[in-house]
Symmetry: none
Subunit: 401 residues, 2 copies
């Protein structure tokens, strides 16, 4: 019996869960023995939660492994990121919050410029500005292929997403970008029968696109990369019996949440607005994923002080969440993004669970040193955070008699 | 995707790693509440590393499992000791630093004495002294079998190693020692076709040996045990992309390191000489395994104070390693060898990682109580030490986007 079978067999009714994810929350001291970003921040509300709840360190994937946003969030949602891998095309589609379905093959596309001989002269079509790209993508929406539904959506500059929706389409199709100029785009080639069907559709898509774009000054052709279907993920409803809502500002996190069947609620632009959306939807869902992006952004910038400020912003919304009185409030991150290294890292993530069922530990602050030296949850893999949240919300029955 | 596939897919260029293994470093207090050997030792340099780096407790195999040297080191090297098992013949060959190849079947041999009727009168040939055994082994080097290369090497007293090298030789051959006197040695019997081929070679080896040894007063015959091929271990180069050097005094550890493809460098006789070898080879390798034996030896002797002294010897070489400025310095052991029990034990091993990427914890001493109560690495399985070392040396790329 694996973890998912176990959870499915034990899930029951219970209280509401809020999972507050501060992206890249974990950090590093700038000097050995110094404070991390979290430890430098003034966080009276988070510290109060630490004193009330139970803390620990979450390892996103495995020790030493630095996660991208996709695997980082899958782990938090309780899906083993080594078992459920999200292909590049699906991640790109998720990144614009495109609702990827089970019959979809998603592709990352680049506009490129070809010369009269059909050879690529610019692989990124002069990085045309997004405003311009949006218009060219609009033109491509005219493309029709019998038996297959096609979606094209702009991403940024020369990048856009194409989705082929149809029964029996495979995702194992080779990239068509020859990776250098002076060569023609490659024909899409499928590895198996289902993927050959996709490759045929992709070829026809390109044929029509070239016809439609032939008079464009720059974006007169396209290349395709990262063909992928979404992994077969059991939904939150199936797995946990949870009606789940995702509240996020950034499209990527909306997309990842929708892959596991969460509903996207509201269109908040700030953390304060996210908490408003949480309040407005409080009665309609069992589970709320609330995503705060800027701790990661300022970490990526390498700006320690700015990340500290973002953590202090996060701290301010805590009373608003507490006022809703969730049965279980989880505070964690998808990975660490230490300002010291201006990027994602492998370091475990300080994590708290606040619930009437929490076994209080000696932690009185939310931070790496406290959580790892005094945390009652110890060090655990992120995929166990959802079972812990379910348990702390009284949503898992006894196993065996 | 398993751990090795993951590591292979993420490995990248990065800094140098030193893995300093003090054999059997973990200990036990003689009295409840007293210090362990490590805690009793005066170790200013190791304590400084603890303050600079991050500590934790490494479980060699699984909780409660006491490892031998083979599995203990395989775990440290990142190979699951339950998946990759080293047969006794291979361990004996590794123990004399014989470079075991993929087509080799290794066998532990004992000289024995047989009477005129061909029955064993002494299963250990009177434990002939090593000097004498070396000469008898020399005689056996005359043995030739068409199509098979044969190596015979002395070990100690009546024990020696035979290696049959050839394509298609299997390792599943039964022991020939009847386990008591008054019986004839058994014929080697192979379980499958490949092993039957080995058994035929072994039979012919014994036939020629008996002819060559018939006038020996004691060592006039031999028995064979522990036929084994080496497990199919991916090399350090394949798995981690590391050019790895092993620096050890004792043959066993050289042999274990060579099984995973490390190069044996230098012929040091003391810990100080090992550090000299490290310096001399610093520019030529990415990874250095440095093995210190005597913490284990004095633990095995049951001599608490002598083990404390050996730990203090270890402490003295730390500045010489630090001066080389490795990107990542790991200090650990393959298992615990508490003087209190005069043998290997199952207790987790205090472990430190020193690196600019280490998330400093509250530890200020190298020892069991500090590492287990304040260590930022928590408790982890030894097979994750190499992924952690790679990560701390900047040698693992991000997983997923």
């Amino acid at each position: 019996m694996d973890l998912h079978e176990l959870i499915k067999s034990l899930k029951t009714e219970g209280g509401k869960i809020v999972m507050l994810i501060s992206d890249g929350i974990g950090g590093l001291p700038l000097q050995p023995g110094g404070p991390t970003e979290l430890e430098a921040a003034n966080t009276p509300n988070l510290d109060r939660l630490a004193a009330k709840g139970v803390s620990g360190m979450s390892t996103p994937i495995l020790p030493g492994i630095t996660p991208g946003s996709g695997p980082g969030h899958l782990g938090l949602f309780g899906y083993d990121p080594l078992q459920f891998q999200i292909g590049r095309g699906v991640l790109e589609a998720a990144g614009i919050a495109f609702p990827v379905g089970p019959d979809d093959v998603c592709v990352r596309c680049n506009f490129c410029t070809i010369d009269k001989a059909g050879l690529i002269s610019d692989r990124r079509a002069g990085r045309i500005p997004t405003e311009e790209s949006v218009k060219v993508v609009e033109i491509l929406k005219q493309i029709k292929i019998p038996g297959i539904e096609i979606f094209v959506e702009p991403v940024k500059e020369h990048r856009f997403v194409a989705v082929f929706r149809g029964k029996g389409l495979g995702g194992d199709v080779a990239d068509t970008d020859p990776q250098k100029t002076g060569l023609a785009p490659l024909d899409p080639v499928g590895k198996d029968d289902a993927s050959k069907k996709t490759a045929e559709a992709a070829k026809e898509f390109v044929r029509q696109a070239r016809e439609l774009l032939k008079d464009q000054p720059k974006a007169n052709c396209l290349t395709m990369r990262g063909f992928a279907k979404k992994p077969s993920l059991p939904s939150y409803e199936d797995l946990y019996g949870l009606k789940a809502a995702a509240i996020a500002v950034y499209p990527m996190y909306k997309g990842l949440a929708s892959l596991v069947g969460m509903e996207l609620v509201g269109t908040p632009k700030t953390l304060e607005e996210e908490i408003e959306v949480l309040k407005e939807n409080w009665n309609d869902y069992d589970f709320f994923f609330v995503h705060f992006k800027y701790t990661d952004s300022r970490g990526e910038d390498g700006d320690f002080d700015a990340k500290v400020k973002m953590i202090e912003e996060l701290d301010k919304v805590i009373p608003g969440i507490e006022a809703l009185n969730p049965a279980c409030l989880v505070v964690s991150g998808d990975h660490s993004t230490p300002a010291k290294i201006s990027g994602h890292s492998f370091h475990p993530v300080p994590t708290m669970i606040v619930s009437d069922l929490a076994r209080t530990d000696a932690c009185t602050k939310y931070g790496e040193t406290e959580a790892s030296s005094k945390g009652g949850l110890g060090q655990f893999q992120a995929i166990y955070l959802m079972p812990l949240a379910m348990a702390h919300a009284g949503r898992l029955a006894k196993f065996g008699a």
